[in-house]
Each structure stands twice: as structure tokens, then as C-alpha cells.
């Protein structure tokens, strides 16, 4: 009935794999390509910061304090005369690291738990469902604050937790529930499908079925979930910074907004503008790609017309 269904029919008719097809369709839309480029630029900047190539000297004053944006200072300067432009670039590292590692943690917890719960049913399922229902019933913000307090100043495998590591650990450890629930539901649907039956019939081990058959079939959900959750992770970093639990000693967009909150009344708007612009641009790009990914990958939308 729909255009999506119609074109997917056509595309499948050409016999491409789901992923190759999705990729091709993403690239065929100008807006999506532009968004992908934006994301790639952000990632490059973040990697550049890690490599010490970009914004390495962010902490050095470049001019007088509170300079307006100009040709000389780009986005202006902050309360210590540091370049807002460099801080914004540096912020990409923090935000992307937080979002990426938090996603990774939440996937590492959510995906196996969800898959196991969905596949095994029985008491294992009950246990995992109980776990995520419980975690879910504690309001997210309270959980995040509590975790942030608990983790602050602790060490993990001899590595001291502070600043950024706390932020991504907190977000990761508290945000796996949604993914876990999603995967469990999907695996429940898949476990009785023919291909799983078949695998079972010719004697695959359970771990092999889960790893080799079920998980690849639900993996696209992880990607979609990831692309859409990325945005909320970046926002979480902003909120944690406001509550004083965020990154310290390095500029992040959250920290910049926190600074700007007070500077606005000096008429110093550029720090807020720079950080909001960076967040906005990345969010917009991620949203567009996330939506496109979902359209391209979600089989629910690929049910044909005829």
C-alpha cells in the first residue's frame, strides 16, 4: 500500500541483502547523505581531538575575556579568554565519547540479557524481566543521580572513576532497560520461526543458535535504537553537567551550556549558541539518519502490498 512497501518489493526483487540494500537506499537520499557527512565530520573532529590534532590548546587564553564572536576569535572567548570555537570542537570528543561508550555499555548489557530472556523463557526470563522491571520502576533521574554519586571517586579495575568515565558509566548502566525489553520481545517472536526450528533440528547448540542465528536477525534493532538514543545520551550529559555531576576539567557542550547559563546576563550569548548549535546539528543529523535507518531496516515496514 505504501511507497515504502512498494519500493522495498522492487528492491528485494533485485535480490540484494537487507544491509546492502539499506545502505544503498540511505545513500540515495540527499538529506541523509548530508546528515551522514555531518556525523562523519563530528566523528573526525572527536578523533582529531583524541589524536591531539584538534583543539589541543583549548585551555590557553587567546585574547581578552568575554570577547564577542569576530573574525579573529571565531565564536568569541569565555570567562578566561579561551576560544569558544576550540572548546566547541573539544566538546565533540566528550559528547561523542559519552554517547558512544554509554551506548556500548547499554548494548553489552541489554542485548545479551534480552536475547537470553527471550530465547530461554522460563525462570531465566522471569529473572531478567524482574531485573529490568525493578530498575525501570526507579525514576530515571533518581537512578542516574544515585549511580553518579556511587561511582564518583571509586575505582574500576584500578582505574579511578571521575568526570567523563562516571558520565558514560552512569548513562550506560541506567539505559539498557529499553533495549533489553525490545530485544526480548523480538527474540520471542523469532525463536519459533522456521529458521530457528531448522537450526535446532540439525543440532545447533543453544549458544550457537542465539549468537549465530537469532542475534543477527535482531541486530538491526540495536542499530536503530542506538542512532535514536544517541541524542538522549548527549542530553543526559548536559543535564548531569547542570547538576554538577558531569565532566570536569575538560570542556563539553554540557559544561559550556552550564557556563552560559550565568553568562547570558552579561550579554554573553555565544557560548550557549555554539554549544546549542553543535548539539542541534548533531541531533538533527542523527535523527534524520535514525529515521532513514528505521525505514530501511525495520522489517515491520517492509511487509509488501501484494
Amino acid at each position: 500500500m505504501t511507497e515504502a512497501a512498494l519500493t522495498s518489493d522492487i528492491a528485494v526483487g533485485k535480490g540484494r541483502s537487507l544491509w546492502a540494500d539499506a545502505w544503498r537506499r540511505l545513500l540515495s537520499r540527499k538529506l541523509v547523505v548530508a546528515s551522514l557527512i555531518v556525523i562523519a565530520v563530528f566523528v573526525m573532529v572527536a578523533l582529531g581531538v583524541y589524536a591531539g590534532l584538534i583543539a589541543r590548546d583549548w585551555s590557553e587564553p587567546v585574547g581578552p575575556r568575554y570577547q564577542r564572536p569576530s573574525l579573529e576569535h571565531g565564536f568569541g572567548t569565555d570567562f578566561l579568554g579561551r576560544s569558544v570555537w576550540r572548546k566547541t570542537l573539544y566538546g565533540a570528543k566528550i559528547s561523542l565519547t559519552v554517547a558512544f561508550l554509554a551506548s556500548l555499555i547499554s548494548i553489552c548489557i541489554g542485548l545479551p540479557l534480552g536475547a537470553i530472556a527471550g530465547y530461554f523463557k522460563g525462570w531465566i526470563d522471569e529473572l531478567i524481566v524482574w531485573l529490568f522491571t525493578t530498575v525501570n520502576s526507579i525514576p530515571y533521574i533518581i537512578l542516574i543521580l544515585a549511580f553518579a554519586f556511587v561511582l564518583q571517586g571509586k575505582t574500576l579495575f584500578g582505574y579511578p572513576l571521575r568526570g567523563i568515565s562516571v558520565v558514560y558509566l552512569v548513562i550506560g548502566l541506567t539505559s539498557w532497560v529499553g533495549l533489553c525489553r525490545l530485544i526480548r520481545g523480538e527474540v520471542l517472536k523469532h525463536r519459533d520461526r522456521d529458521y530457528v526450528m531448522a537450526a535446532r533440528a540439525y543440532g545447533c547448540s543453544r549458544s550457537r543458535i542465539i549468537l549465530g542465528h537469532v542475534i543477527p536477525n535482531v541486530a538491526h534493532l540495536v542499530i536503530i535504537n542506538f542512532s535514536l538514543r544517541f541524542v538522549s545520551f548527549i542530553h543526559a550529559e548536559v543535564i548531569l553537567s547542570f547538576l554538577g555531576l558531569g565532566v570536569k576539567g575538560e570542556p563539553s557542550w554540557g559544561v559550556m551550556i552550564d557556563d552560559a547559563r550565568q553568562e547570558l546576563y552579561r550579554g554573553c550569548w555565544w557560548q550557549l549558541a555554539a554549544a546549542t548549535l553543535a548539539i542541534g546539528l548533531l541531533c538533527l543529523a542523527l535523527n534524520i539518519v535514525g529515521d532513514a535507518l528505521r525505514d530501511a531496516l525495520d522489517p515491520k515496514l517492509r511487509q509488501g502490498l501484494e
Partner: protein
């Protein structure tokens, strides 16, 4: 134009991310009261889209009817306003769909959904509309219809749901019923029941029926005339007898060869070689030529697309290789049906 429903030269296009797709390309057919037109073809050949175009249900803005006319009772439906066409839709032309499982709204009772259709087109009190709904359910053979009106779709079996769909479609006594693969999703026994039901109702009401299917067996059971579609076009259009007697188009012949026949001992069924062409990149010339067993090396087949010609009375065809094609006049609808066999 004395025909009840006639479409002429219909072209429908879809804008997709990959480009423009012409899903229906110059299709014409007609159907008259008490008659059944079967449209047959593989998935994606445009048979459903042509039906949806008639109903004005092409999803906008990606889909658009770019040419042709749809004549119904002397007026061109494509020139009507949305409001006017809604008057006709569901009232004079009704449609049922392939998936009885999902085509009913899961959160309303079936009665509610039938009553909605009735009240939309007839000025009736709610109570009378409900009575009518029960009656129409009885008519399609739903047992204990008085109770079933209060059932939700998920409480009914697939066959029952299709009966509900038919009851809903027929509740306003439409002049034309378009059935889009009404039996595909059903068990074989249920299929037969539903087809029988459709035939009975059609005969009783002198309704025109357009049956869309990929199943020649279904066509054989119920249709009077048959249009064979391939790659957005009609390639052969004739009476059911003529078609089953002597299919002329190599594609139709291929369809028949892939059909299992009783009493015929054959090691395996023939399938048509190759795949359905991509509508974004249809082959030049005859769209069937890459798969055609007769002549994929023929220059003309590769470069020029054959149009439909009246190859003999009541039989139109688009194939250069058919005997007598060159001398036949262009014609898109078999004007004179040679035999009319009653479907008693």
C-alpha cells in the same frame, strides 16, 4: 460508454527514492453487471494498483494517476472531487482485500465496522443499521450472526473474517465489487467456500466483480473474462474459455505450464525462467523478451514494445510472435465476446 465500469489507458506512477516507477501503464479493462473480470499476473505487475486507482486509494503524494479515464455509470471518476468519489467508494464500488487478518480494525467490533459503512452511505437509524449488519452477515453465511456482530476481529477465524469483509463490502449493495486476492491467505477448503460465496452473491445481485489474483485456478472457477498483466501492462485479454482453451501470449502459456494438472504425469512443473523485471529499469521493447521462450534474440522484440491488437474476435493480445498479429487492428478491450457461458 454503456459499460458499468470501464478504465481506459490508465497510467499510475509512484515516486520512490530510486526514481519514478510506472506501476500501471496504459491499462484498459471493463466490467458489466453480472459479469466477472479476472486480472491475473505475478506479484508487482500492477494489478492491485490498477484496482486502487479505480477506488482513488493511491497513496499520495508519492503515487499519482498520470493518465487515462475511469468511466463509471457515464462519469469519469478521475475528474470527481474527493467528496464525490467518497460517495461512490464503498457505496457503489466496494473492495475487499487479501489479508483478512489485518484488514479489519482490531479495536472495533465487526458490527461497529459494518455499521459504519452502512451509516455512511444510507440514512438509517443506528438500530436499523445494526439489523442490516446482522442481515448482511447472515447473507455471507456467518453462523449466529446476531452474536458475531459484537465480536472483535481477533475472535474470528480467517475465513470468517473474509466473510465479514465481504459482508461489509456488500452491505450497501454495490454495483461493482473489486476483490483483491480475496482467497490467497486462506486454506484451500475455505478458499473454495469464499469463491462459491462470491459467485452466488454476484449472480444474485447482478453485481459486477473484478477479481484480482495470481491463481489461474481461481480464475477458472469464477471469471468470465480474463486480463493477463505483465510488467504494468495487459498482455492478453479475452474470455476465460478462450484463454484456457488456447493461451496465445508466451507469458500466459508459461503461467499455464507452471500449473499442476490432474491426470497429467510430468516429472516436474515448468517455471518461467528469469525474474520479474525491475520497474525502475524495464527492458526495452517487449518487457517479456528476456524471459520469452520464443525469441529473445528477435531485434523487434528487443526494441519495439508491442501494443494490444484484436487478434481475433474477443481476444486481444500484445505479442509480435503470435500468428496474425501483424494484420490485426489495434484494440485494447475485446469488444465482442464470442461466447457467453452462464455461470449457473
Amino acid at each position: 460508454m454503456n459499460d458499468l465500469l470501464q478504465i481506459r489507458g490508465l497510467c499510475t506512477e509512484f515516486r520512490t527514492e530510486d526514481g519514478l516507477v510506472r506501476a500501471v501503464d496504459g491499462v484498459s479493462w471493463q466490467v458489466n453487471p453480472g459479469r466477472t473480470l479476472g486480472i491475473v499476473g505475478e506479484s508487482g505487475c500492477g494489478k492491485s494498483v490498477s484496482a486502487l486507482s479505480v477506488m482513488g486509494l493511491i497513496p499520495k503524494p508519492s503515487g499519482e494517476i498520470v493518465g487515462g479515464q475511469v468511466w463509471f455509470k457515464g462519469q469519469d471518476l478521475l475528474k470527481l472531487t474527493e467528496r464525490q468519489i467518497r460517495e461512490i467508494r464503498g457505496n457503489e464500488i466496494a473492495m475487499i482485500f487479501q489479508e483478512p487478518m489485518t484488514s479489519l480494525n482490531p479495536v472495533f467490533t465487526v458490527g461497529n465496522q459494518i455499521v459504519e459503512a452502512i451509516k455512511l452511505h444510507q440514512k438509517l437509524r443506528t438500530r436499523d443499521a445494526w439489523d442490516l449488519a446482522v442481515e448482511s452477515l447472515q447473507r455471507v453465511g456467518v453462523p449466529s450472526a446476531a452474536e458475531r456482530v459484537y465480536a472483535y476481529p481477533h475472535q474470528l477465524s480467517g475465513g470468517m473474517r473474509q466473510r465479514v469483509m465481504i459482508a461489509m463490502a456488500l452491505s450497501c449493495h454495490p454495483a461493482v465489487l473489486i476483490a483483491d486476492e480475496p482467497t490467497t491467505a486462506l486454506d484451500v477448503t475455505i478458499q473454495a467456500q469464499i469463491l462459491e460465496l462470491l459467485r452466488r452473491l454476484q449472480a444474485g445481485e447482478r453485481m459486477a466483480l473484478v477479481l484480482i489474483t495470481h491463481d489461474l485456478a481461481v480464475i477458472a472457477q469464477i471469471a468470465h473474462t480474463v486480463a493477463v498483466m505483465y510488467a504494468s501492462r495487459i498482455v492478453e485479454y479475452t474470455s476465460v474459455e478462450a484463454l484456457f482453451d488456447q493461451p496465445l501470449h508466451p507469458y500466459t502459456q508459461g503461467l499455464f505450464r507452471s500449473l499442476p494438472r490432474l491426470g497429467q504425469k510430468k516429472r516436474r512443473l515448468d517455471a518461467i525462467g528469469g525474474t520479474v523485471p525491475n520497474p525502475l529499469a524495464f527492458p526495452s521493447g517487449c518487457k517479456f523478451h528476456p524471459r520469452c521462450p520464443l525469441g529473445c534474440d528477435d531485434k523487434r522484440c528487443q526494441s519495439v514494445e508491442p501494443n494490444l491488437r484484436l487478434i481475433r474476435p474477443g481476444h486481444v493480445l500484445a505479442c509480435f510472435k503470435a500468428a496474425g498479429y501483424e494484420d490485426s487492428p489495434p484494440c485494447d478491450i475485446p469488444t465482442q465476446a464470442p461466447t457467453e457461458v452462464s455461470n449457473g
